[in-house]
Point group: C2
Chain length 298, copies 2
């Protein structure tokens, strides 16, 4: 341990040892950080302890073990349940909350942490547990730049894609749900297509290579789409929305013909119909941003 401290490795605390918390603590240990852990069910710490982690007797002891406290639990209610009773032990420490939630929850938690005298960074993990500590793990942080800079080298142990987004504590949650939205777009698109092809006797595994190629192609368009969204002008460089609409009709017809669920393509077509009604039929698909921007109430 002395060796690590000599090398300038800040002691870190990880609270919450679900699959993700365990992966986080494991990455710190691998990189030589003195790591204290706590979990409601202590048994979950056994493997980490065998790797050199110190298991704290209480949340308060875990927090007291070092200047950098990482929390990764099921939701923000659990965060507050664990930390609210602690009082002044939080004072002067940097609290990094990697629990999933909304931007409003992140901002509320930042306000609460400030009242305890601690510095708060909100974070979002865009990776599955096995990717933690690798080049593939993207972890986003928002909050005071100085706190991020102070602990950046420790945080970078968790993933090469460690990224600071800005001072607004809500940013990491916002980017998180933005990436999740894209994720479900891909997964649902793939599964809808797999259902359709499956009904025609084609295996999903046979479709996967073409799906990947198609995704690559569309991904290459996103920078141009982003530019059009930001500019508010949507010249049809490739296909017009009218052309998309005709093809959507084909997807609905195929789905109905093959007896699979047509709700998703019907939903997409209904939204696209509205863009045409708003006069965007001759524009690129990026003009759909105006439909997505419209409030749909609560």
């Amino acid at each position: 341990m002395m060796q690590n401290r000599d090398a300038g490795h800040t002691p870190v605390t990880v609270i919450g040892l679900g699959l993700m918390g365990e992966a986080l603590a494991g990455a710190f240990l691998r990189d030589g950080y003195p790591t204290t852990v706590w979990n409601r069910t202590a048994a979950k710490a056994e493997r980490l302890v065998s790797q050199g982690a110190k298991l704290a007797d209480s949340v308060g002891d875990a927090v007291a073990a070092g200047p950098l406290v990482i929390v990764c639990v099921s939701d923000y209610d659990a965060v507050h349940e664990l930390l609210h009773p602690l009082g002044e032990v939080l004072d002067g420490r940097v609290l990094v909350n990697l629990t999933s939630g909304t931007s409003a929850q992140a901002r509320e938690t930042a306000d609460w942490a400030a009242r305890q005298g601690s510095t708060y960074l909100d974070g979002a993990i865009i990776a599955i547990p096995p990717a933690i500590g690798t080049a593939d793990a993207v972890i986003l942080y928002s909050g005071p730049r100085s706190a991020f800079d102070l602990h950046e080298s420790a945080l970078r142990s968790l993933g090469a894609g460690t990224t600071y987004l800005g001072g607004d504590h809500g940013l990491s949650s916002l980017y998180d749900v933005a990436v999740l939205g894209l994720m479900w777009g891909i997964l649902n698109g793939f599964l809808q297509s797999a259902a359709l092809l499956g009904a025609a006797g084609v295996d999903a595994a046979a479709f996967a290579p073409l799906a990947k190629k198609g995704i690559e192609t569309v991904t290459d368009w996103l920078s141009d789409y982003a530019q059009q969204v930001d500019d508010g002008t949507y010249p049809a460089l490739d296909a017009t929305i009218d052309t998309h609409l005709a093809a959507m009709e084909h997807v609905i017809q195929e789905s109905e013909f093959l007896g699979v669920n047509a709700e998703l393509p019907r939903f997409v077509k209904a939204l696209t119909d509205r863009a045409v009604a708003d006069g965007h039929g001759g524009n690129s698909y990026a003009a759909m941003i105006e439909q997505f921007r419209k409030s749909s109430g609560t």
Copy 2:
């Protein structure tokens, strides 16, 4: 021209000179194929003629010019309007229809073509016109293997991703709508996220790099998802559907909070709720395939 014929370049005909048809004829010309073109509006052929194409006086003359006839027009109605009156000039030729449509339309057209004595390949272009003739163009064919093999080298001029799918004429349209479904999944996911981030003051261009990274990550999962879909078992290797559902609630809350359209995340959550009701809450998201397989009527 004699030089090309000596080199074994089959004369080809391209009917329909929209953006895509023009790109197809241009690719044949660049590769030295004697190319005859026809379009309802002859003026659209001018650039191709200056590049060496022969403009036919009629559809019948165009078809008569060679053994390989490519049709790429607005829809199958237009295909039939052009070709039905021709009669026996089609006899003995290979007709390749790259017009977008459904698998049922492809099979009907194959039956009709057989009655004219011509061999029919249905095709689908998974590329935008500027990509035609390049490594990026994927073009799918279905129909008799012998016809594809006979003209494969000519067809390969149109794109390095030239792929034969099988004897069922409907396959190319089915794969086409499958890729399109994925495309709208990505585009809508990106635009929904761009709307959400935009409402919080983040430019779409600032989100694009992270979006691309996120897409890469999810794309890497698809082979495993495909395997689970084909196996019909859905072990949760990463997140469970219950975990997805909690995150979907965050997207809805963020969208409502920021006053942007929450219809897409609400739709996705409603579909996911049904998977949980069916007992799949502890499974991987691949179990959603069972929702997509359910007929939703016509």
